[in-house]
């Protein structure tokens, strides 16, 4: 039933698609992590205008489809002659740059809310104990609040990473040759749907379960203190 020649012939193209998918995922995630930590701190801060501004950003980016965000960046900015003649244009013309910008802004919005939720869930006592030890300001955040929130956020952050990996398929709509684009090309050339999309599905499936497994390991490591402890054997005298 399955035309294996089509599958093997397209494997190099799929390998290239895999690289694009992983590359886009990596740079978007790195940017997202870097931006979302300070934004989450701002989101939970008592400074109302600051917290409000971050809320507006996350609300807008979480309330609109990523596909539309990508189109605004990739197709939309070309509308303005001032932008087309600016120094930014060589970057904004690139599908890679646009995809990175849209994906990073999108995942930052979701990650900011995840971290902000985890920060809000900090047990009272942890903050009080830290204050009693004289920790204040950014030290309190770096040493106590953020590491503690990171642990609570880990399972949800794992979901976001898997979600973003799936979302990279949308980059295929702006000329990036990712796994999905390769599958569509293979289908267009061969008209064999199971070979084209089956291979892509297998790749995405493998990636999903690798990521899920990786986050299980991270949780095992970071949530060690929550594991049931093996009772210590009684000392034999």
């Amino acid at each position: 039933m399955i035309d294996w020649a089509v599958v093997t012939e397209s494997l190099p193209a799929f390998a290239g698609g895999l690289r694009v998918c992983l590359g886009l995922l990596a740079i978007s995630l790195a940017t997202g992590l870097l931006l979302s930590v300070p934004l989450a701190v701002a989101r939970v801060s008592r400074h109302r205008p600051l917290a409000g501004a971050v809320w507006v950003y996350t609300y807008v980016f979480r309330g609109t489809p990523l596909l539309v965000q990508l189109f605004v960046v990739y197709h939309g900015f070309a509308q303005f002659p001032a932008l087309r003649e600016s120094m930014l244009w060589p970057l904004l013309r690139e599908a890679w740059f646009c995809a990175w910008l849209a994906f990073a802004l999108n995942t930052t919005a979701y990650t900011t809310e995840i971290f902000a939720g985890a920060l809000r869930a900090t047990p009272h006592g942890e903050v009080e104990a830290a204050r009693a030890y004289g920790l204040q300001g950014w030290r309190l955040y770096i040493r106590i609040l953020l590491p503690s929130a990171w642990r609570r956020a880990l399972p949800q952050y794992g979901n976001e990473v898997v979600g973003l990996m799936h979302a990279t398929a949308i980059a295929s709509t702006v000329t990036l040759v990712d796994i999905t684009r390769v599958a569509r090309d293979v289908y267009a050339n061969s008209l064999l749907a199971s070979e084209a999309f089956g291979t892509a599905a297998l790749l995405y499936f493998t990636l999903t379960f690798t990521l899920v497994g990786g986050f299980k390991l991270l949780e095992w490591r970071f949530l060690r203190h929550l594991r049931p402890q093996r009772p210590t054997p009684a000392h034999a005298h």
């Binding site: 609300y59 807008v60 309330g63 609109t64 489809p65 990523l66 596909l67 539309v68 965000q69 189109f71 605004v72 197709h75 939309g76 900015f77 070309a78 509308q79 303005f80 990996m165 799936h166 979302a167 990279t168 398929a169 949308i170 295929s172 709509t173 796994i179 999905t180 599958a183 569509r184 289908y187 008209l191 064999l192 749907a193 199971s194 084209a196 999309f197 089956g198 892509a200 599905a201 995405y204 499936f205 999903t208 379960f209």
Partner: protein
């Protein structure tokens, strides 16, 4: 400012809402079937539901949509060829609603399963003791009480699903995104039109959040809230 494309975009908004509403109805059917299958005593059903949710949640929506759209068409073509039927073309609307409903049915399966498990066991046991049959217990006791527990997860899925409907433009459905594509190409003002539909999606999200929080209040009338 919109060069007369306003009504076309608004028409696209109705198409988007129509696809979303129809997909939601279908997703609820798949979700309920999946949840009941996952909780049933029949091992084959449990396995089938497990395969369904794992498979769907492991793949990007766009890939599933393309696979079902093109794969379904290929399957229909070969069936038609074998049996000598006339060629049937899947209409994009059916493909879009079918795939989105099928995908979000998997997510709703988990929501509904959790909601059913949140109902105290005694409820179903009491109904059985009163002499109700299993179907009656499900219809009269379990499902009405499940709604309250399902609303938060349901709300979340609906919000994600509305945004996922933007993808149906890729398989040729004439929705809001597709209309914006056409208007941008004709007027060379892509920013205006994509920002416009982004605003409309945001409006759908906002109205949904408000409506769903009222719905949650309505279904929690009989439950005393915890005050801290």
């Amino acid at each position: 400012m919109l060069h007369g494309y306003g009504p076309a975009i608004l028409g696209g908004l109705w198409a988007t809402l129509g696809v979303a509403a129809a997909s939601l109805a279908l997703a609820c059917v798949f979700g309920l079937l999946g949840a009941v299958a996952k909780l049933s005593g029949v091992r084959a059903l449990r396995w089938a539901a497990e395969v369904y949710t794992t498979l769907i949640r492991g793949l990007p929506e766009l890939v599933l949509m393309l696979a079902i759209f093109y794969g379904g068409q290929t399957l229909l073509n070969s069936l038609a060829e074998r049996h000598g039927w006339a060629l049937i073309e899947i209409p994009p609307l059916a493909a879009g609603v079918g795939t989105i409903g099928f995908i979000f049915g998997a997510y709703l399966t988990e929501t509904f399963r959790g909601a059913i498990l949140a109902i105290p066991r005694g409820q179903a046991e009491a109904a059985l003791a009163c002499g109700m049959r299993r179907g009656q217990v499900l219809r009269r006791i379990v499902l009405p009480q499940m709604v309250r527990h399902a609303i938060p997860g349901f709300a979340n899925n609906w919000l994600v699903m509305v945004k996922a409907t933007a993808l149906v433009s890729i398989i040729g459905l004439d929705d809001m995104v597709h209309r914006a594509n056409l208007a941008s190409a004709a007027t060379r003002e892509p920013f205006t039109f994509y920002m416009l539909i982004a605003g409309l999606y945001l409006a759908i999200t906002t109205v949904s959040i408000l409506a769903l929080s009222r719905l949650e209040k309505r279904f929690s009338l009989g439950v005393r809230a915890v005050t801290f």
